[in-house]
């Protein structure tokens, strides 16, 4: 579902963020992208979401090429992705419920089903009681859960979470990772970046991509 061949990404200011990335991620994989701050984790997610295009090499996501040929193509890829941005990108002035529904409005879902799915997702992340709260009044952790609910309510084929353990304490970090992992199934790939390797060192059923200075090493640990 994600296939890349010798992908490199150089930002306009000549920063070489990624070098010779070769990936072949299959449906249903759980992928951890690890590496120190500034190593290129977010850049890799940006490529997958079409927020950046490969400077060289080819990248295909969910069967579509990621390049600057057509904006519509990138939007189609994104509709099958559930992104949890590091800074969440919730829409202020609206309730949690409205934010979650916002991710589904243009998917052709009937209003009733959309609302049900949004409510269900909010329950699932443990925020059912905050669905009518404006998102700017939520705590950091609650906002993160709304972002996760928005990502999963639309039933994506690929969930991307950028540094979800960010500044959480150990218990909460483990909880959030557990929540994100729970959405993985044979049709849903979950990709999580984190610089906190100690949180996942015991993971036995996942793919590990460690990024260092823009180059990757892949290790698959499956029982």
């Amino acid at each position: 579902m994600i296939i890349s061949n010798n992908v490199s990404l150089i930002y306009p200011d000549k920063t070489q963020a990624l070098t010779d990335i070769n990936l072949d991620i299959k449906p249903g994989e759980l992928v951890y992208i690890t590496g120190p701050s500034g190593s290129g984790k977010t850049s890799l997610l940006k490529l997958i979401m079409g927020m950046e295009y490969p400077t060289s090499g080819t990248l295909s996501v969910l069967g579509r090429q990621v390049n600057n040929s057509r904006a519509g193509n990138i939007r189609r890829i994104r509709r099958s992705i559930g992104p949890v941005f590091q800074e969440f990108k919730l829409i202020e002035g609206r309730t949690s419920l409205e934010n979650v529904m916002m991710g589904m409005r243009f998917l052709g879902v009937k209003p009733k089903l959309m609302k049900d799915a949004a409510n269900e997702a909010l329950e699932e992340v443990g925020l059912g009681h905050k669905k009518m709260s404006k998102v700017e009044n939520l705590s950091w952790g609650e906002s993160q859960r709304v972002a996760i609910a928005r990502a999963v309510a639309r039933k994506p084929s690929l969930i991307l979470a950028d540094e979800p353990t960010g500044n959480l304490d150990y218990d909460n970090a483990i909880n959030i990772l557990g929540l994100l992992k729970s959405f993985r199934n044979e049709n849903t790939t979950v990709i999580i970046t984190t610089h906190a390797t100690h949180l996942i060192k015991d993971e036995q059923n996942a793919t590990f991509i460690s990024v260092d200075k823009g180059r990757i090493a892949i290790e698959r640990r499956y029982r």
Binding site: M49, G50, M51, N68, A71, G72, I74, R75, R76, I77, R78, R79, S80, I81, P83, F85, K89, L90, I91, E92, M102, G103, R105, F106, L107, G108, V109, K110, P111, M114, R150
Partner: protein, 296 residues
């Protein structure tokens, strides 16, 4: 399409939110659009009245062909018939010496006594030729070269002026429509740019979630259409007040002015100004949106 139908309620709410977000500026846009459309309404109504006037004057457009003195009345009839068959001639009528005198007496009124100084009737018989103004030149030439016509008296100067005025009115009308169109476009695209700027975070997030541009843009088009329509309605109502005021104050004062029926003008304005504003609003908003192309 499905998404569109499912989201009509959302779109309406969104556009209400967009309007409120920049309320003052949007109110000014509405007033601006209303004033411009009002101006257009005034020019269109003026053109309308002018055209009517010109039409009426055109119907009055005539040249007179004076007969040679020796002709019998049959010969005069023949000449009149011949002229009547020319292109650009609508009708002819023979005015004999006696009628010519009577007409002059009518014109002179009190002063008609002066005519009594003449022993004989000093007036000549002529054929009165109603013409199409457009064919004026050729008709005058043709009548001049007709045997039995001594000379032609025309009011070419007046007719040419009328033609000029008609032309100028038309040009003014078109210029006005173009000016209104362009101004509305500018106001609208400014309004939409502002709306988009105020919502850039939300729009960016929607893009990252894969929203089609049409879904993102539609509330802004709706906003543009609603606000322009509001301007159109304000302009139409102002026109109704203006027309009523003008007609009320003119009753009896200039009875010969060939004014169209008041109801007809009012109907025209209340139908056309809002419809036009709707069309301008739609295309202006699309234009405003398309002028903000950027990457996904």
């Amino acid at each position: 399409m499905k998404s569109f139908l499912f989201n009509i309620g959302y779109f309406i709410k969104e556009s209400g939110r967009v309007i409120k977000l920049n309320l003052l500026s949007n109110i000014f846009s509405v007033i601006g659009t209303g004033l411009i459309l009002l101006l257009l309404g005034i020019v269109i109504t003026g053109t309308n009245i002018g055209n009517r006037l010109v039409l009426m004057l055109n119907e009055e457009a005539e040249v007179n062909g004076y007969f040679s003195e020796t002709l019998t009345s049959e010969q005069r009839e023949d000449i009149a018939t011949k002229i009547n068959n020319m292109d650009g001639v609508r009708s002819t009528r023979i005015v004999d010496e006696d009628e010519a005198k009577t007409r002059m007496e009518d014109i002179l009124g009190e002063e008609a006594k002066i005519l009594e100084l003449f022993d004989d009737n000093p007036f000549e018989a002529f054929v009165e030729i109603r013409i199409n103004v457009d064919a004026m030149d050729s008709v005058i030439d043709n009548v001049k070269s007709t045997a039995g016509i001594e000379y032609v008296r025309d009011n070419r100067d007046v007719l040419e002026k009328i033609q000029d005025i008609t032309y100028a009115l038309k040009v003014l009308g078109y210029l006005m429509i173009a000016a209104v169109g362009i101004t509305t476009f500018i106001i609208l695209s400014h309004m939409i740019r502002q709306g988009i700027y105020n919502n850039k975070d939300q729009i960016n997030t929607l893009k990252l979630l894969g929203s089609p541009s049409a879904f993102i843009g539609f509330p802004y088009v709706l906003t543009g259409v609603l606000l322009t329509l509001l301007g159109g309605i304000i302009a139409a109502l102002s026109m109704v007040i203006l027309i009523n005021g003008a007609y009320d104050s003119m009753v009896g004062t200039i009875p010969f002015l060939p004014l169209p029926a008041r109801e007809e003008l009012i109907e025209q304005m209340t139908l056309w100004l809002p419809s036009l504003s709707l069309i301008l609003g739609f295309f202006g908003s699309l234009f405003g949106l398309s002028s903000i192309r950027e990457k996904s």
